[in-house]
């Protein structure tokens, strides 16, 4: 029977990897996801039929089925009900539950086992710490994304890093105690409590635009927590799968950091822009050089355009204008205009946020271009429309070595013949710095709410027919 169990787990692991491989192309992605899900089904059924579980009596089986029914019901409801614009929150919640489950399992095993081995104990401590940090850190991220209790902006106080360091050391201290004296289950509670506070403190200094990094990192933690739990149980499939997810999260984290030209440490310490507030600077840049435009004027501009590139940012998600934007793009296309979307890796609040948003609005994925692919083509672009984006199109990153975002790769919209920026006001983006793009000679500002502005633009373009 054990051989059968091991074999099934192996099959499940292979299915997980094949599933992720499916995600390397949108055409195979749906099938890949189904492969992953069937791997999970095999793993669950195998465990259910495992003598240890199946032989434990009808009561236990009842509990298991009840738990699966309850969790499955909640999970399905969330998955069906959640709005596409709220996907960052959904991912944050899923990260939280993954971390929480690991911390619970490690605790459950600890109180169950008479004398656990040293390796299992170290893994228990790791599960407790990583799991709790992931759970609470992700809940803070969720809260910030929803704008419930905590502000979107970084929350910092003096000595924050020192306090975090001390908390981590204290948690490890309790961990050492638990490894030496496995009967001290109270130590595990202390570990979980301290790690919970640590998770909250580590995430509150992370501001809105840094969220993609935080979400990717917490994603990685949830995998590492599962892997540690695998070591607690000496269960290979948990170790393999957890490590896979951990690796995936780390890879994404690295991509996000590179896209901002910042180190991970720099993002985690947070609070970019806090000291860069310089109102006078903004005045000298913008003074008398901002050209305000109207929907009619932009429509005339689009009338003669052959190639239009749309640059979406988080503001698009906030104003939920993705459908109207797609309508505008389709209308332009019927008139023979070539329309593409330029997607910056950190646009939005999580990796891939803009792609999901535009896919929901039925935008063909071939039109969604990565930064490196589309940047060389801005020189041949007649009109670039920037909607709800700021720092990712700030030419200061390229030209001003003193800028806090110096060296960050940006979308070179300023190289197109005309730039239309749709924005509520001249207020700075997340980095808290003025954007010389808004004052450039070829830039027109269309002030207003994203959705409203696009609707007006749509009407104006239709009238020009």
């Amino acid at each position: 029977m054990d051989v059968v169990v091991d074999l099934s787990y192996l099959v499940a692991s292979v299915l997980f990897i094949l599933g992720i491989r499916g995600l390397t192309h949108p055409r195979t992605a749906v099938r890949g996801n189904l492969l992953g899900a069937s791997g999970m089904l095999i793993a669950v059924i195998t465990t259910l039929l495992d003598s240890q579980v199946f032989g434990s009596g009808l009561g236990s089986l009842g509990f298991i089925l009840a738990g699966i029914a309850l969790g499955g019901g909640i999970g399905a409801t969330l998955a069906i009900r959640i709005q596409m614009t709220a996907m960052p929150e959904m991912v944050a919640l899923l990260n939280a539950f993954g971390g929480g489950a690991s911390a619970f399992v490690a605790g459950a095993v600890l109180v169950d086992t008479a004398i656990p081995g040293a390796q299992a104990l170290v893994a228990t401590v790791a599960s407790g710490i990583i799991g709790s940090v992931t759970f609470w850190g992700s809940l803070v991220a969720f809260d910030k994304l929803r704008g419930l209790l905590l502000p979107d902006a970084p929350v910092t106080f003096p000595g924050q890093q020192v306090l975090n360091g001390i908390l981590a050391l204290v948690a490890l201290g309790f961990g050492a105690w638990l490894v030496v004296d496995p009967s001290a289950t109270g130590a595990y509670l202390a570990i979980v409590a301290i790690a919970s506070i640590l998770g909250i403190l580590l995430t509150i200094p992370i501001g809105g635009a840094d969220m993609p990094v935080a979400i990717a990192l917490l994603n990685s933690y949830s995998g590492l927590a599962a892997a540690s739990t695998g070591f607690v149980l000496s269960n290979n499939i948990l170790i393999i799968t957890g490590s896979l997810v951990g690796a995936s999260g780390i890879i994404l984290t690295r991509i996000m950091c590179k896209a901002m030209n910042r180190s991970l440490i720099n993002v985690l310490v947070g609070a970019i822009g806090a000291e860069n507030e310089d109102a006078a600077d903004a005045d000298t840049i913008y003074e008398g050089r901002i050209k305000r435009t109207s929907a009619e004027e932009v429509a005339m501009l689009l009338d003669t355009a052959k190639r239009v590139v749309i640059v979406p940012g988080y503001g698009l998600a906030v104003s939920q204008a993705q459908h109207q934007l797609r309508d505008l793009a389709s209308l332009l296309e019927t008139r023979g205009v070539e329309v593409e979307y330029a997607i910056h890796p950190v646009a939005g609040r999580m990796p891939g946020h803009m792609n999901v948003l535009l896919a929901e609005a039925d935008v063909d994925y071939d039109q969604l271009k990565e930064m490196d692919v589309i940047n060389p083509s801005f020189g041949q672009t007649d009109v670039s429309i920037v909607i709800g984006a700021n720092d990712i199109v700030n030419p200061d990153a390229r030209t001003n070595p003193k800028s806090p975002i110096a060296g960050m790769p940006i979308l070179d919209v300023d190289k197109s013949t005309s730039v239309v920026v749709i924005k509520r006001s001249l207020s700075p983006g997340f980095a808290g710095i003025p954007n010389p793009l808004f004052a450039a000679d070829n830039t027109l500002m269309l002030f207003g709410d994203g959705k409203q502005a696009i609707l007006e633009l749509l009407a104006a373009v239709q009238e020009n027919a």
Partner: protein, 81 residues
């Protein structure tokens, strides 16, 4: 170990286009903790059963919610021809 290496190779090939589904999908997979939770629930120790049950519910939300929402997202990525 080999699996992780292969996985690493595969993950680096996922295009930015699909980064969000990669996260939600890998999230679902990390719900593999569900197995540990099931083992705990079948214990004879009452406290273990309670903790295991909590883990089971959370892990199942992860698995079911993760795969379903990923499927929903992926089915939106279409190509018009």
């Amino acid at each position: 170990m080999l699996a992780v290496f292969v996985g690493f190779e595969v993950i680096t090939k996922v295009p930015p286009l699909l980064h969000t589904p990669l996260m939600s999908g890998s999230n679902a997979i990390s719900g593999i903790t569900i197995i540990g939770a099931m083992l705990s629930v079948s214990s004879s120790n009452q406290l273990t059963v309670i903790l295991g049950f909590a883990a089971l519910v959370l892990a199942t939300i992860n698995v079911v919610g993760g795969f379903m929402v990923t499927n929903r997202m992926l089915s939106m990525f279409k190509k018009r021809d």
